[in-house]
Symmetry: C2
Subunit: 450 residues, 2 copies
């Protein structure tokens, strides 16, 4: 006999939290679909050569790679590389812009530690253009994220946006075009190390002039409402083409985000956000819980120019965003954001037959199920008390008792488990009573954010 265990770094939920996770996935699927994204599913295993085409860095170290027969295989470590392969491979059969969502598990053999997962879900959306892609898409992506989190019940979060062209153009203005990547890497530490140390690093490590360093600090200190930030940026206009284009794009994104119904407080221009330095080329996004900035971004992405450069000569610009779902779910649990009022029971009704023949219980369960109510028949020969204990442990909202009396009178004894109230009703009325409560329960959000 082997002691049962689950590998560390692998999430395996008990039924109740798994139900919360499923609710989050349902919302993701529904919202992503409402915006015209098609669901994709690609293999978890790919040819290692495909996944490592870009190569280098942490990816190579963390990837799960193995051979089977003669094949050099690996588990996907994100959903972007498989998307790039998919689009390059099926290019001729797809219509562009190509909008896809994918919710799937990815694998990274990171050092195991609390809250870090080796197997985790990503929930990605991307819009891929063929040669070109309109700026509208860069505004729509964060509006989808706004809708997704809002539907889950999250309230106090903010999507922060920036535009890489503004940064690139600004550093070119200062004569730091070659250094812009390094500068952004240091600026990215602003929140952690403070302005003074950023200034010192710029001067000491990169030999930036004190004047330019001050200029950079002034720039990234620009704060205020989105309109105020855009107005402040206007003072740099006309000096660098890339900057001007970035400012144009950012203004359009801000304007359309409002048109998409995203309220002002839910998105903010933040000039310190840069994201992956060699990949993103336009709008970039990060998303923060306002009350838990220490968690870091819960949803990030941006605009890129060349999705599939390792697999095709076609220029395929795109914009996408990714939610690290497993980590988000874990964090929400830790921070007590998961709503205890959400019904996580596997059934809405537990039917307790008190007679030997179960046909009447079966008939009633079928009637409930046909109305969309989740019903379970408790068929075990146990004492009434044991049956009620089971109902309580499952957390079912309703128990329906079906004894000889009920059968003879053609009624169903419906017990509301939260109020304790019990009433005997004919079938149609019993179903209607339960249906009303079940329907009301569907509006209870999975996240409780007050």
């Amino acid at each position: 006999m082997i002691k049962p265990h689950t590998l560390s770094g692998f999430m395996e939920n008990l039924p109740a939290p798994q139900m919360q996770m499923e609710r989050m996935m349902d919302i993701l699927r529904r919202t992503y679909s409402l915006y015209g994204f098609t669901p994709l599913d690609t293999p978890v295993i790919e040819d290692a050569q495909i996944l490592l085409a870009k190569g280098g860095g942490e990816t190579e170290k963390q990837i799960y790679r193995f051979t089977k027969g003669d094949s050099d295989l690996a588990l996907r470590f994100d959903l972007t590389v498989p998307l790039a392969k998919y689009v390059a491979l099926h290019y001729g059969e797809l219509s562009f812009p190509f909008r896809r969502y994918q919710i799937g598990k990815v694998y990274r053999g990171e050092r195991a530690q609390r809250g870090r997962f080796r197997e985790f879900y990503q929930a990605d959306i991307d819009i891929i253009g063929d040669g070109q892609l309109d700026i509208l898409n860069e505004a729509e992506i964060p509006s989808i994220i706004y809708k997704t989190f809002t539907d889950m019940g999250l309230k106090r979060f903010q999507i922060q946006v920036n535009n890489r062209k503004i940064l690139t153009g600004f550093y070119e203005l200062l004569g730091l075009g070659q250094l812009s990547g390094d500068v952004m890497r240091i600026v990215d530490k602003l929140d952690k190390i403070g302005a003074e140390k950023v200034r010192a690093s710029l001067i000491d490590e990169l030999a930036v002039s004190p004047q330019a360093a001050d200029e950079i600090l002034r720039f990234i200190a620009i704060r205020g409402s989105n309109q105020e930030v855009l107005a402040a940026l206007e003072s740099y206009r006309g000096k660098n083409q890339t900057f001007d284009q970035g400012l144009e794009e950012l203004s359009v994104v801000v304007k359309y985000l409002a048109a998409f119904g995203v309220p002002e407080e839910a998105f903010a221009v933040n000039l310190t956000i840069a994201r992956g330095l060699d990949y993103y080329t336009g709008t970039v996004y990060e998303t923060f819980l306002l009350d838990h900035p220490e968690i870091g971004s819960i949803c990030s992405g941006g605009r890129y120019d060349n999705l599939a450069e390792y697999y095709t000569n076609k220029k395929l610009p795109g914009v996408g965003i990714s939610i690290g779902l497993t980590r988000l779910f874990y964090v929400l649990g830790e921070q007590k954001y998961l709503n205890p009022a959400l019904n996580t029971s596997p059934a809405d009704v537990l039917i307790l037959p008190m007679t030997e023949d179960l046909s009447a219980a079966i008939g009633f369960a079928t009637a409930l199920r046909n109305t969309g109510i989740r019903a379970q028949i408790y068929g075990e020969q146990r004492k009434f008390k044991a049956k009620m204990t089971y109902a309580n442990k499952l957390g079912v909202p309703f128990v329906v008792i079906l004894g000889e009396d009920e059968l003879q009178n053609g009624v169903y004894a419906v017990k509301n488990m939260s109020t304790g109230e019990q009433t005997s009703l004919p079938q149609a009325e019993a179903v209607a009573l339960i249906a009303a409560t079940v329907q009301a329960g569907q509006n209870i959000p999975v996240i409780l954010d007050t």
Copy 2:
């Protein structure tokens, strides 16, 4: 640059067929939930020792096994072993009977051939008891399968049931108790090799007496309606306890299946069905497409006595059934069962803005999405013809054109892409028109079985 490719034996669908696959998964999730099963999700990677606890045979050869650091890891090859581990590991935190469904990918490094997959979805339901489990569950399981396939649109299929105790008891009666496993293995070939060769094999390979062989052939030749088969089995009653118990159970299952609303033609007692010889102990199931018996069973399972014997001393009897979803989907496609009338477009509406400012298009898209209609805005600066070509390629049911005229008159030009009809309507009426068609489309089954 690397030539993009997907490993052979791994399904990777284009968007339209993937949409059909998603519809099948939606139905599985919904139906399984209606019967009170809780969704579970377990890791794809487990400790190899856990997965190979039972060991031996094809499993060892086909399993994807590899090391990462010091860990001996493997990919799950089914969802039953992970369930056994889960129940043993979390025993104290679960309520029994424990009903779970799981739809997930499993891995088997089989020889690659057409229609065989190395990565494939299984969609499993199981009910696990603690020490005991009522016979009701053995009737409910096939009723769920009936509902699932019916909701998908499948009509001409049959769930065939048998009871292992009947077989075991019958062979004991003939003094072949020790040989029953071998006898069943030969009898299982009846459809393939015919009665004569089965008889010869029994006599030659197992040294069964000619009288006993004839008795076996007579037994497995029992045919007719379920009541007729049960009546024929009555003639053996009273001679063997195991047989009698099996007959009792089968009679109850047949009775309750009818109570669950499964029509007589959709399930049949078939005495030749045995299933995995050392695992199942009671009711067993196989499911066949009536017009394609050559495909074999598309959904199988049964009652077992000891789910987790390799991980715990607890006796955990259960009953379960599994759909090999990827293979089923492949077969349905091959046999032209997938319904071309199902809308597989990523959106219900494509909005074509003809003005530079896209705010009105965004507002209309938002109104549609708030009503549950999947909408996409085509924001690219292309000629009208190119936009319509895109709409046609996507297969969207509706296009809405928003030009200067429409904006000025406060109307939306709604074009029904299947009829070609175009009408200009105010927003509320446009949304209502589209919503009606979308709603009607949701009743179109994914499988067309005439």
